[in-house]
């Protein structure tokens, strides 16, 4: 579990009393506020009063209940420390199902059966109604809340101590009292007999007892750390962005030109192949597709190379393709790989002729092409230099405007 894999997970989710959920990277919890930032707007610090918040789940499945957080109590300091820097013993290995009866089931979610989910825990299959589930914390750190936010708050508050002991180990020396025991007692535990009945609830009869696990667990594969984007140290200024946008428009126009060339029925195969090869250098890879409007509004996706080859064999004497109104209409957005993604729109006029320049078919389609900014390494005088380049991506049909 490297730092990178943690970094690249989704944001912390802050469940508010209002019922809303804020997606932040929480950086600090002061006696009065919760502070953080939103990666999409990293320069702006955000904060909200603690009184607005019920609980927070972080990106690796740790949670912290806020209204009962007592800063003077070392126990709560431990919860905070675990939240910010701990890694649950189940992370990357097992899922945890937290029930409305304040039980914590550690095992593996295996599927759905009617209104229940199925799981295995301690080698046995189990089943639990979704109405009896408050939250599942999945092994990859994601979580899914099944109950109302208020119910989730009540249960998470009741089990917070036991969850922390189970997931991160107790503050006391380990091993003194054997395995951490779940099910977890609620704040006011019912008598033992009742509790055992309650624990079963709507669970399947064969459901295993709620897992008590500090036993060694079989290691399951952990998601591999995502490759570090190689753009981290490569600046991209607004001026560069503008220049690259202009370059993207030029590349889109170039592709329009190559399409026109590919329609030339007088060209031989070598010339056509050369045109296609040059056109493909404009794209991020050979797997990119162009969407073509078919009959009855159906859309067909063809790889760029196949589409260009296909143009030559259309059963018309002459085909012309013109691109115009090429415009950049979208801000670039950063992807998880560190590259930036934008979009260009243009109109394509397709005209097909037979015989003596008789126009047999024509249409105008508005198309959109994805544009990718990515770093490339170019060698100059024996020195490798990295800089941003712009390449085209998939091309889609926005609309068929008119028959031309």
């Amino acid at each position: 579990m490297g730092a990178i894999s943690l970094q690249l997970r989704a944001q912390d989710q802050m469940y508010l009393k209002s019922g809303k959920i804020n997606e932040w990277k929480v950086t600090a919890i002061t006696p009065t506020d919760i502070q953080g930032n939103i990666p999409a707007n990293p320069g702006v610090p955000y904060s909200t009063a603690r009184s607005n918040v019920l609980f927070i789940f972080n990106r690796i499945g740790n949670f912290l209940v806020i209204p009962t957080l007592n800063d003077a109590d070392p126990k709560y300091q431990r919860f905070k420390d675990n939240f910010f820097s701990g890694a649950s013993d189940a992370y990357g290995k097992e899922d945890r199902i937290i029930t409305t009866n304040n039980d914590i089931i550690t095992g593996k979610y295996t599927g759905v059966d009617g209104n229940s989910i199925t799981y295995t825990a301690q080698g046995k299959d189990g089943k639990i109604a979704t109405s009896d589930i408050v939250v599942i914390i999945f092994m990859n750190g994601d979580h899914k809340i099944y109950s109302s936010t208020n119910k989730a708050f009540q249960v998470l508050n009741a089990i917070e101590q036991q969850f922390n002991d189970l997931a991160f180990g107790t503050a006391a020396p380990a091993g003194a009292n054997g395995p951490v025991v779940t099910p977890v007692a609620a704040a006011t535990p019912p008598p033992a007999d009742d509790k055992s009945k309650k624990k079963r609830g709507k669970h399947d009869k064969d459901a295993p007892p709620v897992a008590a696990t500090t036993q060694p667990q079989p290691t399951q594969p952990t998601p591999p750390p995502a490759p570090k984007p190689d753009t981290a140290d490569l600046a991209l200024t607004d001026d560069q962005m503008d220049q690259l946008s202009a370059k993207a428009i030029q590349k889109a126009k170039d592709f329009g030109y190559y399409l026109q060339e590919a329609c030339n029925k007088d060209a031989d195969m070598d010339q056509l192949n050369a045109v296609i090869a040059r056109a493909l250098t404009l794209f991020i890879d050979d797997d990119r597709v162009i969407e073509v409007a078919g009959p009855n509004g159906a859309k067909v996706q063809k790889k760029i190379k196949d589409y260009m080859n296909h143009l030559r064999f259309l059963s018309y004497d002459k085909v012309t393709i013109q691109w115009y109104n090429v415009q950049f209409v979208n801000k670039f957005r950063k992807g998880p790989d560190g590259n930036y993604y934008g979009e260009i729109e243009f109109e394509q006029k397709f005209t097909a002729y037979t015989g003596d320049n008789f126009k047999a078919y024509g249409d105008i389609t508005r198309k959109k092409t994805e544009v990718v900014l990515k770093p490339v390494t170019v060698e100059k005088n024996g020195i490798a230099e990295r800089h941003w380049d712009v390449l085209l991506g998939d091309i889609g049909v926005a609309e068929i405007k008119t028959k031309a």
Binding site: L8, P42, Y109, V112, I117, N140, Y341, G342, G396, A398
Partner: protein, 272 residues
């Protein structure tokens, strides 16, 4: 109010003059959902603001004008008092409401053409925007279903490879999620494109199993709608209206007053 009327009159005049001009219609059309969000927020760098500044420097347009024009004006059965209340709350100058692309409280609903056991079928795929701590973002599939497959009582989680690093890029929506075809074909990496809501929903697991065993062949996206839960007390839907009018493109097609409990239900059912 006077300022608003003047602005509306100015804009209408601009619209009238632009009727036969494709370039102007292109400018006024809300061409993509990003542009809808920009106009809703009155982003000073929005495409429409830049266009008006450049071509009609004498025209003054305020946020109210822009937001009022984000509603499908061809729909005759709007509940006008409800619409007015919505505008009032969104445009409240002391507590204005804004939208963000990176929110998890909106989602895309893509109606897709496919074949199921060799026969034409239709599937619905829901997608949300997922952000990471580096500022990167991607679209991720949070639910999917196909009427023909149905929802079997028991669905086993299929054995899938450990998630890797494939993704639908953050502007995939602009090309009507062309990348979905590649994602659904790429069975070795399909888990990369799915979130935990998908993996815990019986109907989407049934959809996934049908894709994996070849009963379901994905085709292409036919239509898209976006549903926003970001505005307190409201849910609204944005649909695409293709027409040669200035009130065209991505516009609000439905609006409902809902409480937070209902919103929680929607979130839990579809995308969280």
């Amino acid at each position: 109010m006077k300022a608003l009327l003047v602005a509306l009159a100015g804009l209408t005049a601009v619209h009238a003059a632009a009727q036969d001009n494709r370039e102007k219609l292109f400018a006024f059309e809300v061409k993509q959902i990003d542009e809808f969000i920009e106009r809703f927020n009155d982003d000073s760098a929005s495409f429409i603001r830049t266009y008006i500044r450049t071509h009609y420097p004498e025209v003054r347009v305020d946020r109210a004008t822009l937001v009022h024009n984000l509603v499908d004006r061809s729909k005759k059965d709007w509940n006008q008092p409800e619409l007015d209340t919505f505008f009032e709350e969104v445009l409240d100058t002391t507590n204005p409401v804004h939208l963000t692309f990176y929110s998890r409280d909106w989602f895309a609903e893509a109606v897709c053409s496919c074949t199921y056991e060799g026969k034409p079928a239709e599937a619905v795929v829901l997608l949300t925007v997922n952000t990471d701590s580096t500022g990167g973002s991607k679209w991720i599939v949070s639910d999917a279903w196909c009427k023909q497959i149905g929802t079997p009582a028991t669905v086993k989680l299929p054995e899938l490879p450990v998630p890797g690093t494939k993704f639908l890029n953050p502007i995939s929506h602009t090309t009507n999620f062309i990348g979905l075809a590649r994602a659904f074909r790429d069975k070795g990496h399909i888990r990369d494109y799915l979130d935990m809501n998908f993996m815990s929903s019986p109907r989407s697991l049934a959809f996934l199993n049908a894709l994996l065993d070849g009963r379901l062949q994905y085709g292409y996206v036919k239509t898209i709608r976006y549903h926003f839960l970001d505005v307190d007390g409201w849910v609204f839907t944005v649909s695409y209206f293709q027409r040669e009018q200035s009130n065209s493109g991505w516009l609000i097609s439905a609006l409902s007053r809902v409480d937070e409990d209902k919103k929680t239900e929607i979130r839990n059912d579809y995308f969280r």
